[in-house]
């Protein structure tokens, strides 16, 4: 396939896992760990897809998503949200803010891969 | 601000009690009138009669007050906590 994915996540082991899964499938994976500068990172890297964690240092994933969706340029950018807090209201909030997909940790590797493929393939 | 309606009919006991407190208010008035009455007497009244009269009035006042005080405390053994009856009393009196 060969698209680029920007992974915004702060837990080193999870970054390593997702990077491994996606790059083995042919994706280029960039990572970013700080919530505050995440939107700038998106602007700089212009990825085909974002994997966005909710609990980030300094700024929450919801706020980042909100900013992205407010920007016309990123309105259609596929965003896969990941969260370790699997409550219903988290999912609702994510959908309301315009997340393309929403997954709860721990996820299955296959599912992540499928989702990423599906989102970029659209 | 709307006032809550006053109860029109009180329980028999608190009705009684209010009348006793009316009586307590009346006592000094009755006493004063009784004590001023001799001033209107004719001059020929006897001295000892006058003394008897004053002391009789005095004794009656004491007895009356004792009865009323007993009633008032009987109905409400703690007269110091009965603020409610007292104030509605005034209002009650004003409404009639």
């Amino acid at each position: 396939m060969g698209g680029t994915v920007l992974l915004i996540e702060d837990e080193p082991n999870i970054i390593e896992a997702i990077r491994f899964i996606l790059s083995r499938d042919g994706w280029r994976v960039d990572t970013h760990s700080d919530g505050l500068t995440a939107v700038d990172a998106v602007r700089a890297r212009r990825p085909d897809l974002i994997v966005l964690d909710v609990m980030l240092p300094n700024r929450s994933g919801y706020d980042i998503l909100n900013d992205l969706r407010a920007d016309a340029e990123f309105k259609e950018l596929p965003v896969l949200m990941l969260t370790a807090r699997g409550q219903k209201k988290d999912r609702e909030l994510a959908e309301k803010l315009g997340a393309s997909r929403f997954m709860t940790k721990p996820f299955s590797n296959g599912e992540v891969l499928e989702t990423v493929r599906a989102l970029v393939g659209q | 601000m709307s006032r809550p309606p006053e109860p029109i009919f009180l329980a028999r006991q608190s009705y009684r009690r209010r009348r006793w407190s009316d009586a307590a208010r009346l006592m000094p008035v009755v006493g004063l009138i009784a004590l001023l009455l001799p001033l209107l007497w004719a001059d020929q009244a006897t001295t000892s009669g006058g003394i008897l009269y004053i002391f009789c009035v005095w004794a009656l006042l004491i007895a009356g007050t004792k009865i009323i005080a007993r009633r008032l405390t009987d109905y409400d053994p703690l007269i110091e906590t009965n603020d409610s009856t007292e104030s509605t009393e005034t209002k009650d009196g004003g409404a009639r």
């Binding site: 999870i14 807090r85 | 104030s87």
Partner: protein, 894 residues
């Protein structure tokens, strides 16, 4: 006849007996065993100080001169008592709820805690009472003189007797009247002694009366015949005097400072009033019963020209009844002494609260909070005032030369003190009465009393010359003291009462109508008038910046540390706080002010609290708001109010419970969410890498090893998290068992540091331990304590960003407790986070390098609480600084 010395001896014995009674009653009351000390009978008997020596001896003289008129002095009070439901019940309730200390305080408090009024009433009281005290001294000396033989009857000897009596009374009053500055302002000892004296004087008078009727005469019918035949024209009532005197004695009964003291201040229980309402008139009835018989018999038996004022004594003496005469003497002695004692206490309270304390306070430039012991000053002021009052009384007695000039002073004093009546009665029945009105009324009354009553009482050529009596001052006929405004030929007493009370009342009403009250006055007015609706909530303070600590310091000085701390502690408990410092709410300031008022009077207490709550008083706007609030409350019907208070209380409780539940639920949500996050994060890595390992057969051994290690580490992280959670839950539920033992702090620290070094193997981290204090031994669970230390050291290790990290562990003492401080040289913790760090999962930053779940400090806090100590963050130490407060070793050991 008894010798003078024997009589003196008897008097001394009698006084010693009274001392014993007072002492015993005080002791009993102190031990809280009031028993029958607090019976309505003691209260009733204590009211008998109304019957002074003036009435004890003078009533007979009065009866001999003007017949039945003497009875008016007792009939007025009888009417007041019979009408207890109307006035006295109100006064007593107000006195109790507002913690009134004297009649001056009552007036001052009613009219917006105005000290001017307090001073005015105090001056009036001193002016009216001093001659009265002189009168008592005179009657005691006269009665002594009766027992003296001719040559000893020199004025100088009499003066010596009076002096000794005055000194004795001063000592007695100071001993029992100012023993302590009681919050309740009651004097059990004195009241008891007065009750005994009341019995003595009643028995004495009855005994002499029975002696006159049944011994000298032959029964009631004979007595009636004697009365008819007697020279006294008993039944020629003068209507104007009859009415005036009934009014006057009724007014005086309420307004005399000493009567106010026993009726209102010394009242133990409002219900006693309902007994005294009939029992005291009964006492008066019995006191008066034999007055006319004694007078009639005296007039017929005693030689021409003997003083009828002393018939009570001379009649038994003529018949050689020494025992009876002695009893009568003791009766008179009791009447005089009890009056002087209570009057001087009442006056001393007023003088010290309204004159001495305000002056003293104003000389203390720094304010009452920091300067000396107010309690001490108050007691000293009281004692000095008592001596001062008695000295004044004695001087008056000496200077007036005794004799007839004094005899009329009783009624003069009555007229003077009755001037308080309009302000007092107006104040409790009329909300519109104002401070200006009260002051105008009092001043008018005072002036008219001086001019028409007090000054003329010294007789023509006394203070006022005969010319003034005849033609008025400067020849202005309108202002003749006994014929004011051309009203002539009426009885001087009636004249004086008529003018003074009428113009006093007029001035009071007119100025009240014309002036506008301050908010505080309006508030107090509403409170006083509606006392039965409003008994338990009088408001006065709102939103002050008062520091609870300052208030406590001041209160301790005035009412003593234990009482003050008790009040503060109970208030804090009521507000749901621990310790001694409640929030300074308006309710609390109000309560405190009332408590203080019990010792120093309302106006002074108000001024003191005002001083602390920010220099001036509360702002006018605040007061208006409170006044409006209070008035609104007053408009409610009482039942509704009682109910709404109940409902409000319930609602408040519900609201509080709800808030607590809500907070708990938010906490629980947050907690669950946090746990979820903390558990899922390592599980994500574990699941992901195990799937990678399972799926990828061809992975190199190096990668395989690395991924296995990640899985292993994350599993450990999960286990640690679960351990911490379990630990915390056990601690929080209090199910933890502590292995208590004796150990030195140093040993515990050693273990903690060693454990840390083994666990991390880090070498570049310097731990400094400046030795002193470490060898102190403590009684605690050493393992748990070292768990706390390990946590703190680990924290420093994890978070200290300094390139050359250093941790200092110091054993110290702070606030009487042993503490261990952990100070590192990092950046420390931001101020806004300092309160949060002890909460579960509260990581200051998501620094995952630390790898903890944010439970460490929460566990530390729980452990320290269990151990009876605590842990706090010490701000301003440069780096992060934690202080572990060790359990109180002494308390534990005990």
């Amino acid at each position: 006849m008894l010798s003078f010395n024997a009589l003196a001896l008897i008097s001394i014995f009698y006084v010693a007996l009274l001392f014993a009674v007072a002492f015993w009653a005080d002791k009993r009351a102190e031990r809280g065993r009031g028993g029958w000390l607090r019976s309505p009978w003691v209260y009733t008997l204590s009211l008998s100080i109304y019957c002074t020596a003036w009435t004890f001896y003078g009533a007979v003289g009065n009866a001999a001169r003007s017949g039945l008129e003497f009875a008016t002095i007792y009939l007025g009070p009888t009417l007041v008592m019979v009408g207890w439901w109307v006035i006295l019940r109100r006064l007593v309730r107000i006195g109790k709820t507002q913690r009134i200390t004297s009649i001056a305080d009552m007036v001052s408090s009613r009219y917006g805690k105005s000290n001017t009024l307090g001073v005015l009433v105090t001056l009036l009281a001193v002016a009216g009472t001093t001659p009265y005290i002189a009168l008592q001294l005179q009657s005691v000396t006269l009665s002594f003189a009766v027992f003296m033989d001719g040559p000893a009857n020199a004025p100088e000897d009499l003066a010596v007797v009076a002096l000794w009596v005055a000194i004795g009374l001063a000592v007695f009053t100071i001993l029992f009247g100012t023993r302590n500055l009681d919050v309740e302002e009651r004097h059990h000892g004195i009241v008891m002694a007065i009750a005994v004296e009341a019995v003595v004087k009643l028995v004495a008078l009855l005994a002499v009366g029975i002696f006159a009727v049944f011994w000298i005469g032959s029964g009631p019918s004979d007595m009636m015949a004697r009365i008819e035949a007697s020279s006294i024209d008993v039944w020629a009532l003068q209507p104007d005097r009859w009415m005036t005197m009934i009014f006057l004695s009724a007014a005086a009964f309420i307004c005399l400072p000493r009567m106010f003291q026993v009726i209102v201040i010394e009242n133990e229980d409002e219900r006693h009033l309902s007994t005294a309402a009939w029992a005291f008139p009964m006492y008066l009835f019995l006191i008066s019963l034999f007055v006319i018989p004694i007078a009639v018999v005296g007039l017929s038996v005693m030689p021409e020209g003997s003083n009828p004022d002393l018939f009570v004594l001379t009649l038994p003496l003529t018949f050689d009844q020494n025992a009876l005469a002695t009893l009568a003497f003791l009766g008179g002695f009791s009447s005089a002494t009890s009056m002087v004692i209570v009057a001087s206490i009442a006056l001393a309270t007023m003088v010290s609260n309204h004159i001495v304390m305000p002056i003293w306070l104003s000389t203390q430039s720094v304010g009452a909070t920091v300067s000396g012991d107010v309690r001490h000053v108050v007691i000293l002021a009281r004692r000095a005032s008592i001596v001062g009052v008695l000295v004044l009384g004695f001087l008056y007695f000496r200077l007036s030369g005794g004799g007839t000039a004094l005899a009329s002073i009783g009624l003069v004093a009555f007229v003077g003190l009755s001037q308080i009546l309009p302000a007092l009665i107006g104040g409790i029945f009329w909300r519109g009465a104002t401070r200006i009105g009260a002051a105008a009324g009092l001043a008018t009354g005072l002036a008219l009393w001086l001019w028409t009553s007090l000054l003329p009482s010294f007789g023509e050529g006394g203070v006022l010359s005969a010319a003034v009596f005849l033609h008025g001052p400067f020849g202005i006929a309108m202002l003749r003291p006994e014929a004011l405004f051309w009203i002539e030929d009426i009885d001087p007493l009636v004249h004086s009462v008529l003018w003074s009370i009428a113009l006093n009342t007029l001035a009071f009403c007119v100025f009240s109508l014309l002036s506008f009250p301050s908010p505080l006055e309006r508030l107090q007015g509403a409170t006083f008038v509606n006392i039965f609706r409003f008994s338990d909530r009088s408001r006065g303070w709102t939103g002050g910046a008062a520091e609870a600590e300052d208030l406590l310091m001041m209160a301790q000085r005035i009412i003593g540390p234990q009482v003050a701390q008790g009040i503060f502690e109970s208030e804090a408990a009521k507000q749901g706080k621990q310790g001694y410092l409640p929030d300074v709410t308006p309710d609390f300031m109000d309560r405190l002010e009332r408590e203080l008022a019990g010792s120093v009077g309302a106006a002074t207490a108000h001024a003191m609290v005002a001083q602390i709550t920010g220099g001036a008083s509360v702002t006018v706007e605040d007061l208006i708001r409170v006044a409006d609030e209070a008035q609104q409350i007053l408009e409610y019907s009482n039942q509704l109010e009682a109910k709404s208070a109940e409902q409000e209380r319930t609602a408040r409780q519900l609201r509080e419970a709800n808030e607590k539940l809500l907070a708990l639920s938010v906490q629980k949500d947050g907690f669950l969410s946090q746990i979820s996050h903390e558990l899922r994060t390592p599980m994500t890595s574990i699941r992901s890498f195990s799937e990678i390992l399972m799926a990828d057969e061809a992975m190199g051994p190096e990668d395989r090893l690395r991924y296995s290690r990640i899985i292993h580490d994350e599993t450990k992280r999960l286990t640690r998290l679960l351990d911490d959670l379990l630990d915390l839950s056990v601690l929080e539920n209090g199910q933890v068992t502590l292995n208590m033992g004796e150990e030195t702090i140093g040993a515990v620290l050693d273990r903690a540091v060693a454990a840390m070094e083994v666990a991390t193997g880090q070498q570049d981290f310097v731990i400094q331990r400046p030795g002193p204090g470490e060898d102190a031994s403590i009684y605690t669970d050493g393992d748990r304590l070292s768990q706390v230390f390990i946590n703190l050291i680990a924290n420093a290790l994890k978070y200290c960003e300094n390139p050359t990290p250093r941790l200092t562990i110091k054993v110290d003492e702070a606030g009487g407790r042993r503490v261990v401080d952990f100070l590192d040289n990092g950046k420390g913790i931001p101020t806004d986070a300092q309160t949060l760090i002890f909460e579960k999962f509260a990581r200051v930053s998501d620094n995952h390098a630390a790898g903890g779940a944010g439970l460490g400090l929460a566990i530390c806090r729980e452990v320290m609480t269990r151990l009876g100590g605590g842990i706090v963050y010490l701000p301003g130490q440069g780096g992060a600084a934690f202080r572990v407060i060790l359990p109180d070793a002494r308390a534990e050991a005990a």
